[in-house]
Subunit: 164 residues, 8 copies
């Protein structure tokens, strides 16, 4: 294990996706998971994207989170170049309410999977939680932090319920 390296690589198709992905970064920070963030495009910088994806494993990354809008090919193109697990976050684009990016990720044909989360910030936060669940398979301390996070979430909601 490479504890210096980022364990999660977050890649997005445009700087405008940064706001959506803030929800993922907060969760990763709360769980003590080092990560790096890159703006790369499946179409405008395909070689850089594929090089980054190809090197991710060797650089010690364990999970990749990729977000994009519209015809959202970024997670699929990244997944084509790595055997690391790739998670996709559809971003609401300029029209059609996110259905386009959702289907462009989740309907990956047989052979190269993208584990897809919900459209937008909820999906970004959940991508980070799923990354933690995956990393937890190898790193017991991450699993315990995730367990504690989940327990805190449960308690907060129960408190809300009682206050009602």
């Amino acid at each position: 294990m490479n504890d210096q390296a980022p364990w999660v690589g977050i890649v997005m198709g445009s700087r405008s996706d940064l706001e959506t992905l803030g929800a993922a970064r907060e969760v990763l920070a709360a769980l003590g998971i080092p990560h790096e963030v890159r703006v790369l495009s499946a179409h405008r910088t395909p070689e850089a994207t594929m090089a980054w994806a190809e090197e991710a494993e060797g650089r010690g990354m364990e999970v990749i989170i990729a977000a994009a809008g519209g015809a959202a090919h970024l997670p699929g193109v990244v997944a084509a170049k790595t055997v690391l697990p790739v998670l996709g976050v559809p971003v609401v684009g300029w029209s059609l309410g996110g259905l386009d990016s959702l289907l462009s990720m989740v309907q990956m044909p047989r052979g190269v999977p993208v584990g897809t989360l919900a459209v937008g910030k909820a999906g970004a936060a959940n991508a980070a939680l799923l990354a933690a669940a995956i990393i937890g398979g190898k790193r017991p301390e991450v699993r315990e932090r995730l367990r504690a996070w989940r327990e805190r979430q449960r308690e907060e909601l129960l408190k809300q319920s009682e206050e009602e």
Copy 2:
């Protein structure tokens, strides 16, 4: 690590989903990943479903694949009871062409993620490949088998292309 235990638990809402999930079982077998298969329902057998999910980690499972059709709550209910990574496979139900089960899985609200794959057999095969990618983080031999599987897939397609 518990090498006797199944590493992947496959759960489905109805025996009629078995055909769809055959595509997942074939891939897991090809990659040497032991797995168990259960028919359980989020609505008709909620306690058994939740008990199975809760015990999965202790029994040595590393990833869960859950498939269902219609208002497909099974992956979400399983995910509520485990910190293992949960992958969802939407099955085409009796109407609406699978859009209902897809949205019922992928749009999980913030806090409990389900990594969702494509509707039907393509998604089932990809769930197995993503499970292998996840397990590969801890088990190098699985990662290498996945890498080899991906390479064979690449070569077969290239051969097809040349034959054209």
Copy 3:
């Protein structure tokens, strides 16, 4: 009959659904139907949710109204643990305009029904009216109050029409 107990239990997946459900509470109040409101989650507090659902009948409740957004599993999970009638109110979530929560409720597979109303406030008001219709089967005074409410609604609309 237990006239002290709430006759209707309203449960929602998040405090942010309170505004939508205000439309249900107003109608129940207007019809003299005591009710309780709880914030519970199918995924973050599954045991509390199921315990609440399981105890509802014994506590004298007669109908349950459950509201949620996104992959809206709450009504289905509640329905799994009670033989009381369960009504679902889809809430517009963070994307896809409510189609996700609608399909996640209405497409319940055979065996455990959720009677689903319209997306949002119209559906919340109607869930209360349908609860009144159900309770009216046993409590004639509720049926008469509902009849009078419907009559008033009719007259108000007719007056509007004349004013045109």
Copy 4:
């Protein structure tokens, strides 16, 4: 209570819906709930439809199940003329896969509710189960039969699961 009368009235827009509604009739028969079946149309026989709806309460009916396809107005028109609870079953019509009948039922505007079930046979069976849940509020023997039915369903699924 009028034990001679049908407790449930099933109404459908066309004889071709009979096959779909067979699933409802089987469940009602299994639960010992007397019912009547009528073919009536919101558009072709509006007076007969409204007269039937208006008389349903006086004739001892406790719940109405209405099924139709396409622009499926039947449940709404029936609900306009009764304070009994009305449940809707969308039928797959001649195009658009049932989305048209689903939205034509579930999106009822504020004031006159239709509790809508899933498209097709699953929805028809569930309408009967929800009718039983409603009737069970007044008739304890129906509630117990429903509880037993649910329990049998649970056991059958568990047995399936073990056989796997």
Copy 5:
């Protein structure tokens, strides 16, 4: 012919539809077509709605325009009680962007037609133009006014184009 009577009856399910229908009223006024406007509901005032529809022909009306949102049954219920041509204008409701009201009108089953126009104000204006086209079959002066209106529209657009 009854030149005193309104030739077009406009009916809407809610006063909130008045703004949408303003586009129809302007076109009718511009074409010199007398009309009346009523707020009536297929569900809350079914008898008044049906009585109005039934009397329309005898009162000299020649075309009916009906607008509603959500599960928009008003045009269908009106069409059930008259042999006059009925035109439907789907109004964007409280969710789903008007797809619900569009399908609730246009997918009328065989036997009772509703000629459906576009969602919202464009559809309202076009309903008035189609009503004029229909009335023009009997009243040559309306046809000529419509022809002139169309010609003016053509010229205005051509002028715009030249100015570009």
Copy 6:
């Protein structure tokens, strides 16, 4: 009035639409409404289509029914060249289940209306009934035949209902 001329012109984009439009032709024949049928395309024979549309009024036609699939521009192009009422019948094309042809007709922008009926044969039959309702404004004998047709339809359904 020109009683020799066809009163209704039916135009379709492809001979393969003939089967769908058979439902319209049967209704027109049953109501004694002379009609002509043409295969013309908005894209492949635009001049012939527009010439036919432009001459329709002078040839004595009173209503036009236009049917097409896919990006169904035929009714709109015909409507651009006539002040006669134009009715559209969306045909299920080669994909997307008729949603494409429905939206291509019904969403006509302000200025040139197409009164759109349901997708497929139900819509074709209803286009003929709406044409009869329109023609009935000028020809009382057609109105009476339509009234009788509607009455027979009502009686047949009532008989079906009794037989149940």
Copy 7:
């Protein structure tokens, strides 16, 4: 070659589409491609539209970009009258989020193609880039400018990525 003439003709159904098409004009200007802009309607000015389309080739145009909203027939009607390549830009109309205009363009039946781009401004910019790619087949200097534009785009994104 006619270097004085506009090489690209941009046509739109309404002046309100000008803002969307600004994105196309900027790209064409940046690539040194002369173009003309016209407001023409498939329905309100069909003869002028068809005349413009028919003359485009003779006037030296090499590609046509057509944009419209709702039932967007403009690109199809233009394509019917020219053998030049026609590109379509769906504009978000007054409802349904652009799905109507998208399907009205892209689903053109066999025989007369419209190469369709994304809904809105992204599609407008891409229509200009695709026009440049087409023109570049004959004009090497345009191809080189496009290559340079693509290269600059790549470098800008890479710089953004580094700054992260």
Copy 8:
């Protein structure tokens, strides 16, 4: 110009797309346009795909047609590596009726366009016709063949119409 080289490159994600693309090959053959066909995948053989795309211009190709189903990234990945015009043909995949592949192509973000045709065979034939229109800009003989093809199509339809 390189008259030996294929002028059109057809690439598809799977051999199963060959049947759909037969419609394109027939049109290209009829118009005397040499083409080559390759099976390549954006995900399984990304390097080979990108190498083929990158070399296409140098090998004398003038237009690329790319077809795929599901999350159809192939046309976008090809377009990322060439300044030739790229046309996309969505293929109906294993679920969702082609809406997934359509949106995955047409909604390409700003910067790298894919001119998208209709789903399935109609789109394949039209891609070939649009390719011919593009090639015709440089090769007058192709433009004339396309003009003649269009004229024949027009005459055949007119003959059909007369035979009616």
